[in-house]
Amino acid sequence: MGNVAVIGAGMTKFGELWDKGLEDLIAEAGAKAVNDANIDGEDIQAIYGGNMSAGRFIGQEHIGALIADAIGLTPIPSTRVEAACASGGLALREAYLAVKSGTYDVVVAGGVEKMTDVYSEQVTQTLGGAGDQQWEVFNGVTFPSLYAMMARRHMHDYGTTEEQMAAVAVKNHSNGSKNPYAQFPFKVTLEQVMSSSKVAEPLKLLDCSPITDGAAVVILASEKFARKLPQEPIWIIGSAHTTDTLALHDRKSLTSIEATRLAGRQAMKQAGVTPKDIDLAEVHDCFTIAEIMAMEDLGFSKRGEGGKDVESGKFNLNSELSVNTSGGLKSCGHPVGATGIKQAVEVTWQLRGEAGKRQVDDAKVGLTHNVGGSGATAVVHIFSKEVD
């Protein structure tokens, strides 16, 4: 099977975009990516679109056809995939497989979520749908409370502190302050995070990612097609998708996301890289503890030392590994179905050297990591400037 390239990338600004509907968002991101790719609409053979919950957020299903219609690409096949907060990463994965296998030459991978058309308590309720409705949510579980229980156990087992978690938010807001697409492009201090209101102890408001509207699109192509274009392609050299039990309580561990561990290992094996080879990573920091666990599960930190490492500055911009240069879900925003694609957009821009003030020096290999729910889905991709 051949190599797969990212030939185009585009996204909307993330935020509370009151003047834009879901179809406006995906049309804007799609048009940007198609233009960026220097291709015509006729070149595109299929679409994979990630969306978590348009049915509940805007009363609309049939999102594959909606995307094809909005981007003006009917009658080509357009497939909506859903894996809660990993819907975008999964769309990337399916588009990658479709090109990798030789089924298509040029495929759109998009992600979109319109979350602010309903009130925030309904958003809370809808995001609960990423967990187990009957055996978690029924009993009073909120989505933050699941990560809060992981945080509490991580603190108990490894001595991780609330300040270490807060350090994730401080770092990601610092990165996001340099990203014109970010929902909250400003810095926060450790004190601000620590003194923010309690959501689910030990998690506070500034440990949590926000409610966001947004869309992001990348265009993938076969090597043969990509080589014909004027721009340098970025290559996807590793891809993996894994699942685990829907309910957190059924998992082997509360302090590690097994699906991430497996997907990271599979993707790195395919890419022929180790954690040391990676220059930047966009990881799923839906809550600050999630980034700490991701660092451990992906092999960037030793087990239990993710908190210490982030506190030490190891994951700051242009230090040992630049993590969440976009600002992450935390500062850039988290339109759930779009997040996994936004990660790919950011890594593409970084590897092209187009990331402006947040550019990672000499970035050659990047990783994206997208998690669904409390860890029942994980999707990991590895991107490179070079390919064999």
């Binding site: 308590e121 309904q122 949510v137 009073g140 229980m149 108990h156 309690k198 102890e201 998690l203 309580h249």
Partner: protein, 139 residues
């Protein structure tokens, strides 16, 4: 609630939520709560038998919830915990009859039957299990 539930969806889980009815695999000895009708480890070799959980276990982790979902607003702050049952299965439920600051990982707890939440629209009251500390553990 964004969707009003029919009584069927409530009634369907009564055996588990009210009485802790569960299953186990006689082939490998694993217990399942909620019940499974085949063992994913043994598959064709599964021998599934009914089992009622003891309801005793210990707290694996917990959180104090301050921002609740609809139906739980009046209860904040409340404690949610993951409890590992004696038989092996783990589950998630509220802790009751305990102050949030007194909860500890490893604390022995037992299941009891309680009111869980109330639907706003039609006032249906949901019942199920919560856990409370075992005050004087049997010796």
């Amino acid at each position: 609630m964004p969707h009003r539930k029919s009584l069927a969806s409530i009634w369907r889980r009564i055996p588990q939520r009210y009485r802790g009815e569960s299953t186990m695999c006689l082939n490998c000895g694993r217990h399942f709560f909620p019940p499974r009708h085949f063992c994913p480890y043994c598959r064709r070799k599964s021998k599934i038998a009914p089992y009622t959980i003891s309801g005793r276990g210990k707290v694996m982790s917990y959180t104090v919830v301050h921002v609740a979902q609809e139906g739980f607003e009046r209860q904040v702050p409340y404690v949610i915990a993951i409890v590992e049952l004696e038989e092996g299965p783990k589950l998630t439920a509220q802790l009751c009859a305990v102050e949030p600051e007194d909860v500890r990982i490893g604390m022995p707890v037992e299941m009891s039957f309680r009111r869980i939440s109330e639907d706003k629209d039609d006032g249906i009251i949901h019942y199920g299990y919560k856990f409370s500390p075992i005050l004087s553990p049997k010796k």
